[in-house]
Symmetry: C2
Subunit: 230 residues, 2 copies
Protein backbone atom coordinates (compact mmCIF):
# COMPACT_ATOMS: atom_id res chain seq x y z
CA UNK A 1 0.00 0.00 0.00
CA UNK A 2 1.39 3.36 -1.02
CA UNK A 3 0.68 6.53 0.89
CA UNK A 4 0.91 10.31 0.98
CA UNK A 5 3.96 11.83 2.66
CA UNK A 6 4.17 15.38 4.03
CA UNK A 7 7.88 16.07 4.20
CA UNK A 8 9.51 18.83 6.21
CA UNK A 9 12.59 20.05 4.38
CA UNK A 10 13.89 22.56 6.92
CA UNK A 11 14.35 26.29 6.62
CA UNK A 12 16.37 26.66 3.44
CA UNK A 13 19.63 24.68 3.35
CA UNK A 14 19.66 21.33 1.49
CA UNK A 15 21.85 19.92 4.29
CA UNK A 16 19.15 20.58 6.91
CA UNK A 17 16.86 17.77 5.76
CA UNK A 18 16.82 14.64 7.89
CA UNK A 19 18.09 11.34 6.49
CA UNK A 20 14.49 10.14 6.66
CA UNK A 21 13.23 13.07 4.56
CA UNK A 22 15.90 12.36 1.95
CA UNK A 23 15.07 8.63 1.88
CA UNK A 24 11.36 9.33 1.44
CA UNK A 25 11.92 11.97 -1.27
CA UNK A 26 14.11 9.52 -3.20
CA UNK A 27 11.38 6.86 -3.01
CA UNK A 28 8.57 9.04 -4.41
CA UNK A 29 6.94 8.59 -7.79
CA UNK A 30 4.95 11.85 -7.62
CA UNK A 31 5.77 15.08 -5.83
CA UNK A 32 3.43 18.04 -5.29
CA UNK A 33 5.07 21.42 -4.82
CA UNK A 34 3.71 24.94 -4.61
CA UNK A 35 3.99 26.79 -7.91
CA UNK A 36 6.16 29.88 -7.59
CA UNK A 37 4.65 33.22 -8.61
CA UNK A 38 7.07 33.71 -11.48
CA UNK A 39 6.75 30.11 -12.69
CA UNK A 40 10.31 29.43 -11.64
CA UNK A 41 11.10 26.67 -9.19
CA UNK A 42 9.63 27.28 -5.75
CA UNK A 43 11.96 27.58 -2.75
CA UNK A 44 10.89 24.17 -1.49
CA UNK A 45 11.60 22.53 -4.82
CA UNK A 46 15.07 24.10 -5.04
CA UNK A 47 16.03 22.92 -1.54
CA UNK A 48 14.95 19.31 -2.11
CA UNK A 49 16.03 19.03 -5.79
CA UNK A 50 19.37 17.28 -5.02
CA UNK A 51 17.36 14.27 -3.79
CA UNK A 52 14.85 13.85 -6.64
CA UNK A 53 14.97 10.53 -8.49
CA UNK A 54 15.38 10.74 -12.27
CA UNK A 55 11.84 9.64 -13.04
CA UNK A 56 10.07 11.71 -10.40
CA UNK A 57 6.90 13.35 -11.69
CA UNK A 58 6.69 16.87 -10.29
CA UNK A 59 3.24 18.41 -10.12
CA UNK A 60 3.48 22.15 -9.49
CA UNK A 61 0.18 23.42 -8.18
CA UNK A 62 -1.01 26.87 -7.27
CA UNK A 63 -1.67 27.43 -3.55
CA UNK A 64 -3.42 30.79 -3.25
CA UNK A 65 -2.06 33.10 -0.54
CA UNK A 66 -5.34 35.02 -0.24
CA UNK A 67 -7.21 35.94 2.91
CA UNK A 68 -10.42 34.35 1.70
CA UNK A 69 -10.50 30.93 3.36
CA UNK A 70 -13.06 29.38 1.00
CA UNK A 71 -10.95 30.32 -2.06
CA UNK A 72 -8.04 28.51 -0.48
CA UNK A 73 -10.26 25.56 0.43
CA UNK A 74 -11.42 25.18 -3.17
CA UNK A 75 -7.81 24.93 -4.35
CA UNK A 76 -6.94 22.47 -1.59
CA UNK A 77 -9.94 20.29 -2.43
CA UNK A 78 -8.89 20.11 -6.07
CA UNK A 79 -5.29 19.24 -5.17
CA UNK A 80 -6.43 16.68 -2.56
CA UNK A 81 -8.63 14.92 -5.13
CA UNK A 82 -5.66 14.67 -7.48
CA UNK A 83 -3.43 13.29 -4.71
CA UNK A 84 -6.04 10.65 -3.79
CA UNK A 85 -6.16 9.52 -7.43
CA UNK A 86 -2.37 9.23 -7.55
CA UNK A 87 -2.21 7.18 -4.35
CA UNK A 88 -5.04 4.93 -5.60
CA UNK A 89 -2.88 4.32 -8.69
CA UNK A 90 -0.38 2.79 -6.24
CA UNK A 91 2.13 5.61 -6.38
CA UNK A 92 4.13 7.01 -3.46
CA UNK A 93 3.11 10.65 -3.37
CA UNK A 94 4.86 13.46 -1.52
CA UNK A 95 4.36 17.10 -0.62
CA UNK A 96 7.21 19.38 0.47
CA UNK A 97 6.89 21.93 3.25
CA UNK A 98 9.51 24.47 4.26
CA UNK A 99 10.56 24.20 7.90
CA UNK A 100 8.50 21.80 10.02
CA UNK A 101 5.17 20.61 8.53
CA UNK A 102 3.52 20.95 11.96
CA UNK A 103 4.18 24.68 12.36
CA UNK A 104 1.79 27.04 10.53
CA UNK A 105 1.76 25.00 7.35
CA UNK A 106 -0.76 24.69 4.53
CA UNK A 107 0.18 21.02 4.61
CA UNK A 108 -1.99 20.55 7.74
CA UNK A 109 -5.13 21.51 5.80
CA UNK A 110 -4.28 19.19 2.91
CA UNK A 111 -3.45 16.33 5.31
CA UNK A 112 -6.79 16.82 7.03
CA UNK A 113 -8.67 16.53 3.73
CA UNK A 114 -6.78 13.35 2.83
CA UNK A 115 -6.79 11.43 6.11
CA UNK A 116 -10.22 9.86 5.75
CA UNK A 117 -9.43 8.53 2.27
CA UNK A 118 -5.73 7.52 2.19
CA UNK A 119 -2.84 6.91 4.58
CA UNK A 120 -1.05 10.13 5.47
CA UNK A 121 2.44 10.14 7.01
CA UNK A 122 4.50 13.14 8.06
CA UNK A 123 8.25 13.64 8.33
CA UNK A 124 9.32 16.32 10.83
CA UNK A 125 11.61 19.12 9.69
CA UNK A 126 13.88 21.72 11.28
CA UNK A 127 11.81 24.84 11.95
CA UNK A 128 13.19 28.29 11.16
CA UNK A 129 13.31 29.14 14.87
CA UNK A 130 15.46 26.10 15.70
CA UNK A 131 17.84 27.12 12.93
CA UNK A 132 17.97 30.72 14.16
CA UNK A 133 18.92 29.62 17.69
CA UNK A 134 21.51 27.20 16.25
CA UNK A 135 23.00 29.87 13.99
CA UNK A 136 23.41 32.19 17.00
CA UNK A 137 24.33 29.36 19.41
CA UNK A 138 21.87 30.70 21.96
CA UNK A 139 19.08 28.74 23.67
CA UNK A 140 15.46 29.20 22.63
CA UNK A 141 14.43 28.20 26.15
CA UNK A 142 16.25 27.04 29.25
CA UNK A 143 15.62 25.73 32.76
CA UNK A 144 12.19 26.95 34.02
CA UNK A 145 11.64 29.44 31.19
CA UNK A 146 8.64 29.46 28.83
CA UNK A 147 8.72 29.82 25.04
CA UNK A 148 5.78 31.17 23.08
CA UNK A 149 5.37 30.80 19.33
CA UNK A 150 3.08 33.36 17.71
CA UNK A 151 2.05 34.23 14.17
CA UNK A 152 2.81 37.75 12.92
CA UNK A 153 -0.88 38.26 12.10
CA UNK A 154 -1.98 37.62 15.71
CA UNK A 155 -4.49 39.88 17.39
CA UNK A 156 -2.51 42.73 19.00
CA UNK A 157 -4.08 42.43 22.46
CA UNK A 158 -3.24 38.71 22.65
CA UNK A 159 0.22 39.46 21.35
CA UNK A 160 0.76 42.06 24.10
CA UNK A 161 -0.29 39.57 26.77
CA UNK A 162 2.07 36.97 25.36
CA UNK A 163 4.98 39.41 25.27
CA UNK A 164 4.38 40.39 28.89
CA UNK A 165 3.96 36.80 30.12
CA UNK A 166 6.87 34.97 28.46
CA UNK A 167 10.64 34.84 28.80
CA UNK A 168 11.19 33.96 25.15
CA UNK A 169 9.00 34.51 22.12
CA UNK A 170 9.15 33.65 18.46
CA UNK A 171 7.03 35.70 16.08
CA UNK A 172 6.75 33.95 12.73
CA UNK A 173 6.28 35.95 9.52
CA UNK A 174 6.53 39.23 11.38
CA UNK A 175 6.44 41.19 8.10
CA UNK A 176 2.62 40.97 8.04
CA UNK A 177 2.35 43.24 11.08
CA UNK A 178 5.81 44.73 11.47
CA UNK A 179 5.10 48.31 12.47
CA UNK A 180 2.45 47.45 15.10
CA UNK A 181 4.75 44.88 16.70
CA UNK A 182 7.65 47.35 16.47
CA UNK A 183 5.72 49.95 18.47
CA UNK A 184 4.66 47.37 21.07
CA UNK A 185 8.23 46.19 21.59
CA UNK A 186 9.49 49.76 21.66
CA UNK A 187 7.01 50.54 24.46
CA UNK A 188 8.26 47.48 26.37
CA UNK A 189 11.90 48.50 25.75
CA UNK A 190 12.55 45.21 23.97
CA UNK A 191 13.76 46.35 20.53
CA UNK A 192 17.41 45.66 21.35
CA UNK A 193 16.48 42.24 22.79
CA UNK A 194 14.64 41.22 19.63
CA UNK A 195 16.59 39.51 16.88
CA UNK A 196 15.13 39.61 13.39
CA UNK A 197 16.24 36.93 10.98
CA UNK A 198 15.26 37.40 7.34
CA UNK A 199 15.34 34.29 5.13
CA UNK A 200 16.86 31.95 7.76
CA UNK A 201 19.33 29.42 6.28
CA UNK A 202 18.83 30.83 2.78
CA UNK A 203 21.63 32.46 0.79
CA UNK A 204 20.30 35.96 1.42
CA UNK A 205 19.94 35.50 5.20
CA UNK A 206 20.21 38.63 7.35
CA UNK A 207 20.43 38.84 11.16
CA UNK A 208 19.90 42.14 12.97
CA UNK A 209 18.28 43.41 16.15
CA UNK A 210 14.91 45.09 15.77
CA UNK A 211 16.52 48.33 17.00
CA UNK A 212 18.42 48.43 13.69
CA UNK A 213 15.17 48.74 11.71
CA UNK A 214 12.91 51.69 10.98
CA UNK A 215 9.42 51.18 12.39
CA UNK A 216 7.89 51.03 8.90
CA UNK A 217 10.48 48.72 7.33
CA UNK A 218 9.34 46.33 4.59
CA UNK A 219 10.61 42.83 5.41
CA UNK A 220 10.68 39.69 3.26
CA UNK A 221 7.91 37.10 3.75
CA UNK A 222 10.22 34.67 5.58
CA UNK A 223 11.20 36.93 8.49
CA UNK A 224 11.16 35.70 12.07
CA UNK A 225 11.57 37.63 15.32
CA UNK A 226 13.16 36.07 18.40
CA UNK A 227 12.55 38.01 21.62
CA UNK A 228 14.76 36.95 24.49
CA UNK A 229 14.21 38.91 27.66
CA UNK A 230 16.83 37.18 29.82
CA UNK B 1 40.98 26.49 12.93
CA UNK B 2 39.02 23.71 14.57
CA UNK B 3 35.99 24.35 16.72
CA UNK B 4 33.45 22.92 19.12
CA UNK B 5 30.19 21.60 17.67
CA UNK B 6 26.96 21.14 19.59
CA UNK B 7 25.00 18.67 17.52
CA UNK B 8 21.26 18.04 17.78
CA UNK B 9 20.56 14.39 17.02
CA UNK B 10 16.76 14.43 17.20
CA UNK B 11 14.43 12.58 19.54
CA UNK B 12 15.59 8.99 19.26
CA UNK B 13 15.68 7.59 15.73
CA UNK B 14 19.03 7.48 13.88
CA UNK B 15 17.22 8.52 10.70
CA UNK B 16 16.04 11.79 12.28
CA UNK B 17 19.46 13.45 12.20
CA UNK B 18 20.02 16.06 9.50
CA UNK B 19 22.58 15.48 6.76
CA UNK B 20 24.59 18.30 8.32
CA UNK B 21 24.62 16.62 11.75
CA UNK B 22 25.83 13.38 10.14
CA UNK B 23 28.57 15.18 8.17
CA UNK B 24 29.81 16.98 11.29
CA UNK B 25 29.75 13.82 13.43
CA UNK B 26 31.79 11.98 10.77
CA UNK B 27 34.37 14.79 10.75
CA UNK B 28 34.99 14.82 14.52
CA UNK B 29 38.18 13.70 16.22
CA UNK B 30 36.76 13.91 19.75
CA UNK B 31 33.19 13.47 20.94
CA UNK B 32 31.84 14.26 24.41
CA UNK B 33 28.75 12.33 25.50
CA UNK B 34 26.88 12.07 28.78
CA UNK B 35 27.86 8.97 30.74
CA UNK B 36 24.86 6.70 31.31
CA UNK B 37 24.03 5.71 34.88
CA UNK B 38 24.75 2.05 34.32
CA UNK B 39 27.96 2.71 32.37
CA UNK B 40 26.32 1.43 29.22
CA UNK B 41 26.11 3.63 26.17
CA UNK B 42 23.95 6.68 26.68
CA UNK B 43 20.86 7.19 24.52
CA UNK B 44 22.57 9.96 22.57
CA UNK B 45 25.60 7.80 21.85
CA UNK B 46 23.44 4.91 20.61
CA UNK B 47 21.46 7.13 18.24
CA UNK B 48 24.55 8.70 16.64
CA UNK B 49 26.80 5.60 16.69
CA UNK B 50 26.12 4.64 13.03
CA UNK B 51 27.95 7.83 11.99
CA UNK B 52 31.09 7.59 14.16
CA UNK B 53 34.40 7.45 12.28
CA UNK B 54 36.68 4.52 13.14
CA UNK B 55 39.22 6.63 14.99
CA UNK B 56 36.78 8.82 16.92
CA UNK B 57 37.81 9.34 20.54
CA UNK B 58 34.71 9.17 22.73
CA UNK B 59 34.91 10.93 26.09
CA UNK B 60 32.04 9.86 28.32
CA UNK B 61 31.60 12.40 31.06
CA UNK B 62 29.26 12.57 34.01
CA UNK B 63 26.65 15.35 33.83
CA UNK B 64 24.98 15.47 37.25
CA UNK B 65 21.16 15.66 37.19
CA UNK B 66 20.97 17.24 40.65
CA UNK B 67 18.97 20.26 41.74
CA UNK B 68 22.02 22.01 43.14
CA UNK B 69 23.08 24.42 40.40
CA UNK B 70 26.63 24.97 41.70
CA UNK B 71 27.32 21.20 41.72
CA UNK B 72 26.28 21.10 38.09
CA UNK B 73 28.38 24.16 37.31
CA UNK B 74 31.49 22.56 38.79
CA UNK B 75 31.09 19.57 36.49
CA UNK B 76 30.43 21.77 33.49
CA UNK B 77 33.52 23.88 34.23
CA UNK B 78 35.71 20.77 34.36
CA UNK B 79 34.29 19.43 31.09
CA UNK B 80 34.56 22.87 29.42
CA UNK B 81 38.26 23.11 30.38
CA UNK B 82 38.88 19.71 28.81
CA UNK B 83 37.03 20.70 25.63
CA UNK B 84 39.07 23.92 25.33
CA UNK B 85 42.29 21.89 25.59
CA UNK B 86 41.11 19.51 22.87
CA UNK B 87 40.19 22.36 20.51
CA UNK B 88 43.53 24.08 21.21
CA UNK B 89 45.19 20.80 20.14
CA UNK B 90 43.56 21.47 16.75
CA UNK B 91 40.92 18.78 17.05
CA UNK B 92 37.31 19.00 15.86
CA UNK B 93 35.34 18.42 19.04
CA UNK B 94 31.64 17.58 19.31
CA UNK B 95 28.92 17.22 21.89
CA UNK B 96 25.65 15.35 21.25
CA UNK B 97 22.29 16.55 22.48
CA UNK B 98 19.00 14.69 22.18
CA UNK B 99 16.32 16.63 20.32
CA UNK B 100 17.17 20.23 19.49
CA UNK B 101 20.19 21.75 21.32
CA UNK B 102 18.27 25.03 21.77
CA UNK B 103 15.39 23.54 23.76
CA UNK B 104 16.03 22.94 27.49
CA UNK B 105 19.49 21.52 26.95
CA UNK B 106 22.55 21.30 29.20
CA UNK B 107 24.47 22.07 26.03
CA UNK B 108 23.47 25.75 26.33
CA UNK B 109 25.35 26.06 29.63
CA UNK B 110 28.46 24.37 28.23
CA UNK B 111 28.33 26.51 25.08
CA UNK B 112 28.11 29.63 27.21
CA UNK B 113 31.25 28.68 29.15
CA UNK B 114 33.17 27.98 25.92
CA UNK B 115 32.14 30.91 23.71
CA UNK B 116 34.70 33.39 25.05
CA UNK B 117 37.59 31.00 24.51
CA UNK B 118 36.89 28.94 21.38
CA UNK B 119 34.58 28.98 18.37
CA UNK B 120 31.26 27.31 19.13
CA UNK B 121 28.90 26.16 16.38
CA UNK B 122 25.51 24.52 16.77
CA UNK B 123 23.59 22.14 14.49
CA UNK B 124 19.80 22.25 14.95
CA UNK B 125 17.93 19.01 15.64
CA UNK B 126 14.35 17.73 15.45
CA UNK B 127 12.69 18.36 18.82
CA UNK B 128 10.53 15.72 20.46
CA UNK B 129 7.44 17.89 19.98
CA UNK B 130 7.98 18.20 16.22
CA UNK B 131 8.32 14.42 16.04
CA UNK B 132 5.16 13.88 18.08
CA UNK B 133 3.13 16.09 15.76
CA UNK B 134 4.64 14.35 12.73
CA UNK B 135 3.91 10.91 14.15
CA UNK B 136 0.27 11.88 14.68
CA UNK B 137 0.09 13.97 11.47
CA UNK B 138 -1.58 16.79 13.38
CA UNK B 139 -0.43 20.43 13.46
CA UNK B 140 1.34 21.83 16.50
CA UNK B 141 -0.02 25.25 15.57
CA UNK B 142 -2.06 26.65 12.72
CA UNK B 143 -3.38 29.93 11.32
CA UNK B 144 -3.72 32.52 14.15
CA UNK B 145 -3.17 30.03 16.99
CA UNK B 146 -0.46 30.31 19.65
CA UNK B 147 1.85 27.53 20.84
CA UNK B 148 3.43 27.56 24.29
CA UNK B 149 6.35 25.38 25.31
CA UNK B 150 6.67 24.81 29.04
CA UNK B 151 8.91 22.71 31.28
CA UNK B 152 7.24 20.11 33.52
CA UNK B 153 8.87 21.70 36.57
CA UNK B 154 7.24 25.10 35.93
CA UNK B 155 5.61 27.02 38.73
CA UNK B 156 1.98 25.86 38.91
CA UNK B 157 0.43 29.34 38.85
CA UNK B 158 2.33 30.27 35.69
CA UNK B 159 1.43 26.90 34.21
CA UNK B 160 -2.26 27.53 34.88
CA UNK B 161 -2.10 30.92 33.19
CA UNK B 162 -0.39 29.39 30.17
CA UNK B 163 -2.98 26.60 29.90
CA UNK B 164 -5.81 29.13 30.02
CA UNK B 165 -4.23 31.51 27.52
CA UNK B 166 -3.04 29.21 24.75
CA UNK B 167 -4.60 27.10 22.00
CA UNK B 168 -1.79 24.57 21.99
CA UNK B 169 0.76 23.68 24.66
CA UNK B 170 3.70 21.37 24.93
CA UNK B 171 4.81 20.35 28.41
CA UNK B 172 8.30 18.86 28.29
CA UNK B 173 9.39 16.23 30.82
CA UNK B 174 5.95 16.16 32.41
CA UNK B 175 6.97 13.26 34.69
CA UNK B 176 8.57 15.71 37.15
CA UNK B 177 5.18 17.14 38.08
CA UNK B 178 2.67 14.71 36.66
CA UNK B 179 -0.01 14.55 39.32
CA UNK B 180 -0.23 18.34 39.83
CA UNK B 181 -0.55 18.90 36.09
CA UNK B 182 -3.06 16.03 35.87
CA UNK B 183 -5.33 17.69 38.44
CA UNK B 184 -5.05 21.07 36.71
CA UNK B 185 -6.01 19.61 33.33
CA UNK B 186 -8.79 17.57 34.92
CA UNK B 187 -10.24 20.79 36.38
CA UNK B 188 -10.07 22.38 32.93
CA UNK B 189 -11.67 19.31 31.32
CA UNK B 190 -8.61 18.86 29.09
CA UNK B 191 -7.46 15.33 29.97
CA UNK B 192 -8.94 13.82 26.79
CA UNK B 193 -7.42 16.63 24.71
CA UNK B 194 -3.94 16.00 26.09
CA UNK B 195 -1.74 13.48 24.33
CA UNK B 196 1.12 11.99 26.31
CA UNK B 197 4.03 10.58 24.37
CA UNK B 198 6.56 8.54 26.32
CA UNK B 199 9.99 8.08 24.71
CA UNK B 200 9.13 9.77 21.38
CA UNK B 201 10.81 8.11 18.38
CA UNK B 202 12.46 5.50 20.60
CA UNK B 203 11.74 1.79 20.35
CA UNK B 204 9.59 1.80 23.48
CA UNK B 205 7.45 4.78 22.39
CA UNK B 206 3.91 4.98 23.79
CA UNK B 207 1.12 7.37 22.78
CA UNK B 208 -2.01 7.77 24.93
CA UNK B 209 -4.35 10.53 26.05
CA UNK B 210 -3.87 11.78 29.59
CA UNK B 211 -7.36 10.45 30.39
CA UNK B 212 -5.91 6.94 30.06
CA UNK B 213 -3.54 7.53 33.00
CA UNK B 214 -4.06 7.39 36.74
CA UNK B 215 -3.39 10.76 38.40
CA UNK B 216 -0.35 9.39 40.24
CA UNK B 217 1.20 7.50 37.32
CA UNK B 218 4.99 7.21 37.17
CA UNK B 219 6.17 8.22 33.71
CA UNK B 220 9.58 7.81 32.06
CA UNK B 221 11.93 10.82 32.03
CA UNK B 222 11.36 11.50 28.32
CA UNK B 223 7.60 12.06 28.44
CA UNK B 224 5.98 14.98 26.67
CA UNK B 225 2.40 16.26 26.86
CA UNK B 226 0.71 17.93 23.90
CA UNK B 227 -2.47 19.82 24.78
CA UNK B 228 -4.58 20.78 21.79
CA UNK B 229 -7.77 22.60 22.67
CA UNK B 230 -9.12 23.07 19.15
Amino acid sequence: MTCFWGIGIGPGDSELLTLKAVRIIKSLQVLYVPKAHNDNFSFAEKIAAPYFSDNLIIKRRHFPMVNNFSDKQNSWNTIAAEIIDDVHLNQEVGFLTLGDPSVYSTYSYIADLLKKRITVKTVAGISSFSEIAAKLSIPLVLDKEFLEIIPGNADLIKLKQAVDFNDNLIIMKISTNFSKIYHLLQERNLLAKTIIVENAAMQNQSIKTMAQYECDAQLPYFSTAFIKKG
